[in-house]
């Protein structure tokens, strides 16, 4: 009985994978630059959401440091992939630090370097910070995120300070971000299924009980924090590769709130929920741009629609989710074929509802 079910699942999985790959190839070949950028942003937000969910949703520590780790990854790519001959133009106020001025590496090594630097930062920050609990941890990680940003603003010869770095070679296809997002997702599933993942969840449920069961709290918290830092660094690196220009202001801690919205909407402690909600949030934010433009309905100029309205709607949505749907879309559950089978009708309705909005957001 079980075997038969497994066979069915394998077939379904293969169909799903084939369909997604076909869809991605189609998207990469035929979609406009703008739509591909949105897909790329979805992928980066998914990585960032997973990174944040690993600490906040699975290990139960409330960390608000994502923006800072992201900045480290982004700057690793920005500093090392800008072609050497345009560097003088970028660093026109003060020349680049001679030690790194001539080091140029490709995107992949720079991205991995970004991930590692970010993980190292997480490791160093983790020593003082992970002894804290609850909201103290939140405020301390937020503090470190701001310290990182302030450091980048002030290290003029390395980061070009507040002017930021431009001419980062950016890519216009979707393979890097989507590829990394897929690898990250698979890795997360494996991690959560492993004994480490179980230990993380045990810590989330009850720290003291977990410790009593022989789980080394500090070791596991640190592991979760470092892996999350690595992911955030990769996410930031991809962000730099997508945008082509970065400056420290982009990594204000308010950026972390976007990822917070994603994991709250998707469900704290759900991988598939994070993926779904990162698509909804990113596409939704793009779609909400109509709220920033003047709107004329039936010949009447609606005064509410003007710049800034989008973010008001966005924050009201965040509040509504927190207040009324505190479990988010998935809670701590994962999307699986069983779940699909059980709630076939509901899921189908949801998919039909979701698909056009996906395409609708993409083709604009």
């Amino acid at each position: 009985m079980k075997k038969q079910y497994d066979k069915k699942r394998v077939v379904l999985n293969l169909i799903l994978i084939a369909a997604s790959v076909a869809l991605l190839i189609y998207a990469n070949e035929n979609m406009s630059f703008y739509s591909k950028r949105i897909i790329n942003l979805c992928a980066v937000y998914a990585i960032m959401g997973l990174s944040m969910n690993l600490i906040n949703g699975f290990t139960g520590m409330f960390s608000l440091g994502s923006a800072g780790f992201m900045a480290i990854g982004a700057y690793a790519v920005a500093i090392f992939t800008v072609p050497v001959d345009v560097r003088a133009e970028v660093f026109y106020l003060q020349p680049m630090w001679p030690l790194i001025a001539n080091i140029h590496i490709g995107f992949l090594p720079a991205m991995i370097l970004g991930g590692f630097l970010s993980a190292i930062a997480a490791f160093l920050i983790g020593f003082p910070v992970l002894r804290l609990r609850g909201d103290y941890l939140a405020i301390a990680t937020l503090g470190f995120s701001e310290i990182i940003r302030i450091a980048f603003t002030n290290l003029q010869t390395v980061t070009n300070g507040p002017l930021g770095i431009k001419y980062i070679p950016s890519f216009d296809e979707i393979w890097w971000p989507v590829g990394v997002a897929i690898v990250t997702t698979v890795f997360m599933f494996l991690l959560i299924k492993s004994t480490y993942g179980r230990a993380f969840k045990a810590i989330r449920e009850d720290e003291i009980a977990a410790e009593a069961m022989g789980i080394n709290l500090f070791k596991h918290k640190m592991l979760s924090f470092v892996i999350s830092g690595f992911m955030a660094g990769m996410g930031g690196a991809l962000m730099a590769g997508i945008l082509g220009t970065i400056d420290p202001k982009q990594f204000l801690f308010t950026l972390t709130y976007n990822f917070l919205l994603i994991i709250v909407l998707g469900g704290m402690g759900s991988i598939s929920g994070t993926i779904i909600s990162s698509v909804i949030v990113t596409a939704g934010l793009e779609w909400l741009r109509i709220a920033d433009e003047p709107m004329i309905m039936f010949g009447y100029h609606i005064p509410m629609f003007r710049p800034g309205f989008r973010m008001v709607v966005f924050s009201i949505l965040l509040m509504a989710i927190v207040l009324f749907f505190s479990k988010g879309l998935m809670g701590t559950k994962e999307l699986s074929w069983e779940l699909l089978g059980n709630w076939y009708k509901r899921q189908r309705a949801r998919f039909i509802k979701k698909d056009p909005s996906l395409k609708g957001g993409g083709s604009k």
Binding site: F62, L132, A138, E146, I208, L260, S315
Partner: protein
């Protein structure tokens, strides 16, 4: 550095510190009762400044009425936020309430950008308050002399309320043990609303003086002072108003004097508070005047 320059920086530090202190008290009171970092507090401070701006420029209220009106409106805003965003989550996990607080803060910032526009405005000028008084070689703005006085007076009134009135007794009871206080017949919702009103009112007083002194107002301006004042509350020992005022003074003076003595660190000014926070959390997590609490199993 000669003595007059030092004294000049010191007076700047004291007045900044007393502004921090006023805001920090709001954080510490809310934390003491709800165990919640009210992320929106800095934004309430920002809104108060806009209220003051509009009540003077748009409604042409004389300043003494404007002050009262702004304090009242801000207190109402604080109570509204509590009722709308925190009260429904009273029995929810702490993380949900914290996320809700972040959401409120985000909402207020975006609302302010939307309604008042993101462009900085300049606070109406108070020539009497911004004019300087000479103490030998040192010149100090009148508002800088006034802020510490107002802060200490506010602290005295607050301590009177907390220690001598029925409301204060209820506040102390709720902060000690919320469930038992409820069982004892204390209307906790009313006590919590009062706490938010007092905290927001103090933030409003701080906002008016901040506006007079620093003039520039913009929607994101509550963020940094907000975080720093929370840090001040932690330094002083969270839950303790005297500690919050002390923390505010330490942080304000430390920040100003650090930049004054080591001018290369000017760009790092905002990092000072966070470094201070992390040091305090490591060395003495309960702060200067905080009580030790233990985690119950």
């Amino acid at each position: 550095m000669d003595f007059p320059t030092f004294f000049q920086h010191l007076s700047n530090g004291i007045s900044l510190g007393s502004l921090y202190a006023l805001i920090a008290v709001g954080y510490t009171m809310v934390y003491g009762i709800l165990r919640l970092i009210n992320f929106a507090h800095g934004d309430i401070f920002m809104m108060a400044m806009y209220f003051a701006f509009f009540s003077i420029t748009l409604f042409h209220l004389p300043w003494y009425i404007a002050i009262v009106v702004v304090i009242l409106i801000t207190s109402v805003l604080g109570m509204l936020i509590e009722a709308a965003a925190y009260r429904p989550l009273r029995d929810a996990p702490k993380t949900s309430v914290l996320i809700s607080a972040i959401g409120v803060s985000f909402l207020l910032e975006n609302l302010a950008t939307y309604i008042f526009s993101g462009k900085p405005k300049s606070f109406p000028e108070f020539t009497y308050m911004t004019s300087t008084v000479q103490f030998g070689p040192v010149s100090v703005q009148r508002v800088s002399l006034l802020t510490p006085v107002v802060t200490l007076a506010a602290l005295a009134i607050l301590l009177y309320i907390i220690n001598r009135t029925k409301l204060g007794m209820a506040m102390r009871a709720v902060s000690k043990d919320y469930e038992t206080a409820r069982v004892m017949g204390i209307k906790i919702n009313r006590v919590i609303a009062a706490t938010f009103a007092i905290g927001s009112g103090l933030a409003a007083i701080g906002a008016i003086m901040w506006g007079v002194k620093y003039i520039r107002i913009e929607p994101m301006m509550g963020v940094m002072p907000g975080l720093k004042c929370f840090i001040a509350a932690v330094i002083g020992g969270i839950g303790n108003p005297v500690g919050a005022v002390l923390g505010g003074f330490i942080l304000g003076m430390g920040e100003v004097l650090l930049v004054a003595f080591i001018s290369q660190l000017t760009g790092w000014r905002d990092a000072f508070a966070f470094v201070a926070l992390i040091l305090v959390l490591l060395i003495r997590p309960t702060g200067i005047m905080g009580e030790k609490t233990t985690e119950k199993v």
